[in-house]
C-alpha cells in the first residue's frame, strides 16, 4: 500500500461535522459542484445541532426538484413528496402529530410556482412550519426553464430571449400573507443563514427563509455569469444587509443588488394555538384537543 | 309490499326538509318501517320553492325517488302549482289552509289546516311546519300519533321541545275538531236538525 493511499484513507475516515445529521449512505449527493443547496443543508444541520432540537421529533418534507432532494439526505423522518405539495403534506404531518418540528425544504419553482397556492394559504393560516426556500431563479432539475422567480430580462431555456414576466418578491409575498418570520440570505452568508435557521426553529407560525443560491450549471451558463466562484463574488459585492427592510422593497432585479436580512420577526400565535384558544373559549370543557403525539389509537 | 310515496313542498325557510325528516324518523326509527327521504338539492334560497320526498315501505325501499305521491303535503301556493299534477288520482292532499287553495281532482281527498295561524297563536310562526306535522299524523296515520310526536321531540333543537310539541298537539287537535269523529258527529247532528 502506498503512502498516498494511506493518507487518502485517513481523510475519508474523518467525519464531516454534520455527518450525524445526514444519510451518509446516500452521499455523494446529486447536486452539481458550486451549487448552493448543499451549503443551505449544512447551515440547517448546524442550526439543528446548535438549537438542541430533539431530532426524533423533527421531520422534513421536500417537494420535487433539485432542492426537493434535501429531505432525502437529512437523517430525520424525511418525506420526499410530490411536486409543489410539500407544504400541504407537512401541514398534515404537523396536525397529525402536533409535537413535531416540521421543516419544509424545497425550491423556488416547487414552493412558489406549482405550490404557490399552498404557500400563501399556509402563511395565511399561520401553519406552524419552517419553510426554507432555496431560490436559484430557475427550474434546475428539468433543465433551466423559466421560474416565477426568474428576474426580468434574465435568460432561461424557455425564455431564450430573456424573461419578460415580472417575478415574485418572495419575502414580500410571505410577509403580506401572514408569515411570522421572514428572512433572506445567500449561500455566501453561512453564519447569518445558520443564525436565521436557529431563530426560526425557535419561533412559531409560518417561518419563511429564502436562500439565494447559485446554479452555475444552468442559470449562470444561460446568462453568461461565469463560474460558481464568480457568482459567490457577485453575492459578496452585491448583497446589502438591511434588517427590518420593508419586504415590499426587496425585489430582485437581474444582476442587481440583493437585499438580505431579517425582515419580519413577530411573536404571534400559530394556527394550532389559535384553534386551541378558540375551541376552549367556545366549547369549554367539551373540547378535547388532539394529543401532542397524534390521534393514533393505542391498543 | 306496501309502498307509500310522499312529497312535501313549501318555500325555503318553512321547514320542509325537517318535516320530511320527522315523518321519516317516525316511520323508520319509531314505527319499524323502511323510510327513505330525499331532499331536492339546488340553488334554492329562502323564499323559493323547496321540496322533500319520502318513500315508506314494509320492505327495503328499492327505488328511492317518488313518481306519483300518495300523499302531498303543501305549505305554499308555489309548491302546489309546481307539483299538483304528479299527485295520484286517489291521493291525499294535506295543505296549509290559508296559503294554498287547492283544486283537487275527483277522488283526491283534501285536508286543510291553518298551520300558520296556529303557530302564530303560539307566538312563534316558525313552528308552522310542526303544527302541520301534528295534522299530518292525524290525517294519514302513516305512523301513529305517538310515533310522530316522539319524532318531533327527537328532531327539533334542544330546548325547543315544549313549544314544538305544543304546536304538534295543536295540529292534531285541529284535525280532531274539524275532521275527527266529534266533528263528523257535529256535522251529522246539524244535518239531522235540518
Amino acid at each position: 500500500m502506498s503512502v498516498a493511499t494511506k493518507e487518502r484513507m485517513e481523510v475519508i475516515e474523518e467525519e464531516h461535522p454534520v455527518a450525524p445529521f445526514l444519510r451518509m449512505d446516500r452521499i455523494p449527493h446529486i447536486w452539481c459542484s458550486t451549487c448552493g443547496i448543499g451549503t443551505a443543508v449544512k447551515c440547517y444541520a448546524t442550526a439543528l445541532e446548535e438549537s438542541g432540537v430533539d431530532l426524533d421529533k423533527a421531520a422534513i418534507v421536500s417537494g420535487i426538484g433539485c432542492t426537493g432532494r434535501v429531505a432525502g439526505y437529512m437523517k430525520l423522518d424525511a418525506f420526499h413528496s410530490t411536486h409543489g405539495r410539500a407544504i400541504p403534506f407537512a401541514t398534515g404531518l404537523k396536525l397529525g402529530r402536533p409535537e413535531l418540528l416540521v421543516t419544509v425544504f424545497s425550491g423556488d419553482g416547487d414552493l412558489s410556482g406549482i405550490g404557490g397556492n399552498h404557500f400563501i394559504h399556509a402563511a395565511r393560516r399561520r401553519m406552524d412550519l419552517l419553510v426554507i426556500l432555496v431560490n436559484n431563479f430557475i427550474y434546475g432539475m428539468t433543465g433551466g426553464q423559466n421560474a416565477p422567480t426568474t428576474p426580468l430580462t434574465a435568460k432561461s431555456s424557455t425564455m431564450p430571449f430573456g424573461n419578460y414576466e415580472p417575478p415574485f418578491n418572495l419575502p414580500h409575498l410571505a410577509a403580506s400573507c401572514g408569515a411570522t418570520y421572514v428572512a433572506r440570505w445567500t449561500s455566501l452568508h453561512i453564519r447569518r443563514l445558520t443564525k436565521a435557521f436557529k431563530e426560526a426553529i425557535d419561533r412559531k407560525g409560518f417561518r419563511f427563509i429564502e436562500v439565494i443560491a447559485p446554479c452555475s450549471t444552468l442559470y449562470a451558463r444561460l446568462n453568461r455569469l461565469g463560474t460558481g466562484f464568480d457568482l459567490m463574488q457577485f453575492y459578496h459585492h452585491s448583497t446589502e444587509i438591511q434588517h427590518g427592510a420593508d419586504p415590499a422593497e426587496v425585489d430582485i432585479g437581474f444582476q442587481d443588488k440583493i437585499i438580505c436580512g431579517k425582515f419580519v420577526d413577530e411573536d404571534k400565535p400559530m394556527m394550532l394555538d389559535l384553534m386551541h384558544e378558540h375551541y376552549k373559549k367556545t366549547l369549554g370543557d367539551k373540547y378535547v384537543p388532539m394529543p401532542p403525539e397524534g390521534g393514533w389509537l393505542h391498543e | 309490499m306496501s309502498r307509500t310515496e310522499i312529497r312535501i313542498t313549501g318555500f325555503g325557510g318553512q321547514g320542509v326538509v325537517l318535516s320530511g325528516y320527522i315523518i321519516g324518523r317516525a316511520c323508520a326509527i319509531n314505527g319499524g318501517k323502511h323510510a327513505t327521504m330525499i331532499q331536492s338539492f339546488g340553488p334554492e334560497a329562502r323564499g323559493s320553492a323547496c321540496s322533500a320526498t319520502l318513500t315508506v315501505s314494509d320492505t327495503m325501499v328499492l327505488y328511492p325517488y317518488i313518481r306519483r305521491p300518495d300523499i302531498f303535503v303543501v305549505m305554499s301556493a308555489d309548491g302546489y302549482a309546481t307539483y299538483r299534477d304528479e299527485m295520484k288520482d286517489d291521493g291525499i292532499l294535506v295543505h296549509e289552509a290559508n296559503l294554498v287553495h287547492p283544486e283537487p281532482k275527483k277522488g283526491q281527498s283534501v285536508f286543510g289546516v291553518p298551520s300558520t295561524r296556529i303557530a302564530e297563536s303560539l307566538g312563534r310562526p316558525i313552528v308552522q311546519n310542526i303544527a302541520m306535522m301534528g295534522f299530518f299524523a292525524a290525517v294519514t296515520e302513516l305512523a301513529s300519533r305517538e310515533e310522530m310526536r316522539n319524532a318531533v321531540k327527537d328532531s327539533v333543537p334542544p330546548g325547543t321541545e315544549e313549544l314544538n310539541l305544543k304546536a304538534f298537539d295543536a295540529g292534531v287537535a285541529y284535525f280532531d275538531d274539524e275532521y275527527g269523529q266529534a266533528a263528523m258527529k257535529k256535522t251529522k247532528a246539524a244535518a239531522a236538525a235540518k
Binding site: 418525506f79 413528496s81 400541504p88 397529525g96 384537543p289 397524534g294 390521534g295 | 327513505t36 338539492f41
Partner: protein, 385 residues
C-alpha cells in the same frame, strides 16, 4: 381492537349517507380530515367538523383538493387515521397524491360522493361514472381498493371496513358513494363501541437501526413506523428500495411496483365482498353496485314475473374486481346484465372476465337520475332470449 367510544354515536339514527359516512369514519378512529368543499360530499365534513373537537380530531379545510390529499397522506404518516372527502372534480385533483399514497403505502380513505360528470357536470345529481377513475385515475401501475355502499347504513358500516382495509394493506381506499346514497336519509343503526372492530396501525416493534420502511420478509405488506418515534426513516414517491431510498433502475422498479400490485391481487379473495342472490340455476345474472343495486332488484322482480331465472350479484367491492367469480359463472349462464349510472364502465370488466362464454349486456344511464326499473327488466328479458 375495539373502537374508541368517543367517536361512536351508538343508537338508531335517521341519517343521510354523507352523515353516516362521517359517523363511520369517526367510529373507525379517523382523527384527521383535510378537505375542500364540493357538492354533494360536503355534508360529510360538516358533520365531522362539528364533532371532531370533542374527540381530539382535527378537520382542516385546505385550499384545494391537491392540498387536501397531500395533507391526508402526511397526517397518516403520524399514525393518525386520515381521510378526505370529495366528488368528481376534486377526485380528479386528488389523483396526484392518491398515487403518492399508493407509492408510499399510506393507509387512508378517500370518499368520493359521485355526481354526474364530466367536468363540472351535474353537481347536485347522481352519477357512477368515476369507478374507472377510482381504479386508473393516477398515473402508473398500482392497485388499490374501492368500495361502494348501497344505503346510509352501509355508508356507516363500510366506511369502517374501508379504514380497516387501508390499515391491513397500507393502501388508499376509495369509498365510492353516489349522490343518491349520499343524500338519501334512512335509518342507520350505530353499534356500541365495544361491538365495532377496528384495525389499528401495525407499528413495527423493531428498534431504529434494524427497521427498513419497505422490507417485507416474505409478507405482502411492510411494517409501519410513524414520524416522531425515532426511526428517522425516509420515504419517497420515487421508485425505492426497502430502505425507502430512490433507486432509478428497471430492477428496482420491478420489485417495488410488483409488490404494490401483488399485495392486493394476492389477497383479492379476502378483500372482495359480494352479495349474491339466486345464482344457482340462473340464466341471467345481474351485476350492480351502489344505488343501482337497489333499483336493479326492482328490475329483477319485474322480469322474474315473466318466468326468467335471474341471479343477482351486488358488488360491494368494486376494486379489486371479482374476476374469479365472474369467470366461474361465465361458463354456466347465458348472460350478464350490468346496469350502472355511466355509459358502460364496470361492464367492460365483466365482459373481459366473461371472455365470450356468456353474453354481456350493458344497461347505461348517463347520470342525473337512476334507471327506470322497466329498462332493467327489458334488458334482462332481452338477455334471456
Amino acid at each position: 381492537m375495539k373502537a374508541d367510544p368517543a367517536g361512536v354515536l351508538a343508537g338508531a339514527h335517521y341519517l343521510d349517507g354523507d352523515f353516516a359516512c362521517g359517523e363511520g369514519a369517526m367510529a373507525a378512529g379517523c382523527r384527521f380530515v383535510g378537505g375542500y368543499p364540493i357538492t354533494p360530499s360536503t355534508e360529510v365534513v360538516e358533520r365531522m367538523s362539528r364533532r371532531f373537537p370533542m374527540m381530539g380530531g382535527i378537520f382542516i379545510q385546505m385550499e384545494d383538493e391537491l392540498a387536501s390529499m397531500a395533507a391526508v397522506v402526511g397526517a397518516s404518516w403520524t399514525g393518525t387515521k386520515s381521510m378526505t372527502v370529495t366528488s368528481g372534480p376534486g377526485f380528479s385533483l386528488m389523483m396526484e397524491n392518491i398515487g403518492l399514497g399508493a407509492m408510499m403505502e399510506t393507509p387512508c380513505v378517500v370518499v368520493n360522493v359521485q355526481r354526474g360528470g364530466p367536468s363540472t357536470g351535474l353537481p347536485t345529481m347522481v352519477g357512477q361514472a368515476d369507478v374507472m377513475q377510482a381504479r386508473w385515475g393516477s398515473h402508473g401501475d398500482y392497485e388499490l381498493i374501492a368500495l361502494s355502499p348501497q344505503s346510509p347504513q352501509e355508508a356507516f358500516d363500510l366506511t369502517i371496513t374501508a379504514f380497516n382495509l387501508s390499515e391491513i394493506y397500507r393502501v388508499p381506499v376509495m369509498f365510492m358513494l353516489d349522490e343518491c346514497v349520499g343524500h338519501m336519509t334512512e335509518k342507520v343503526v350505530i353499534p356500541k363501541a365495544e361491538d365495532i372492530e377496528i384495525v389499528p396501525r401495525r407499528l413495527t416493534k423493531k428498534p431504529p437501526g434494524e427497521f427498513f420502511p419497505y422490507r417485507v420478509n416474505g409478507n405482502s405488506v411492510p411494517e409501519f413506523a410513524r414520524a416522531g418515534d425515532g426511526y428517522r426513516f425516509h420515504t419517497t414517491g420515487l421508485t425505492h428500495d426497502e430502505r425507502g431510498y430512490p433507486v432509478m433502475s428497471a430492477d428496482c422498479q420491478e420489485v417495488c411496483v410488483k409488490r404494490l400490485l401483488d399485495k392486493i391481487n394476492d389477497n383479492a379473495d379476502d378483500i372482495i365482498m359480494l352479495e349474491e342472490e339466486d345464482i344457482d340455476g340462473a340464466d341471467v345474472v345481474v351485476i350492480a353496485f351502489g344505488i343501482t343495486a337497489r333499483v336493479a332488484r326492482m328490475g329483477i322482480e319485474l322480469a322474474a314475473k315473466k318466468g326468467i331465472k335471474i341471479g343477482f350479484i351486488r358488488m360491494i367491492t368494486l376494486w379489486p374486481f371479482p374476476e374469479k367469480r365472474i369467470r366461474e359463472l361465465a361458463g354456466k349462464i347465458k348472460a350478464f346484465v350490468v346496469p350502472e349510472i355511466n355509459y358502460g364502465q364496470m361492464v367492460l370488466e365483466v365482459e373481459r372476465c366473461a371472455g365470450g362464454k356468456a353474453a354481456t349486456v350493458s344497461v347505461p344511464h348517463g347520470g342525473g337520475g337512476v334507471h327506470d326499473p322497466d329498462v332493467i327488466r327489458d334488458a334482462i328479458v332481452g338477455a334471456a332470449k
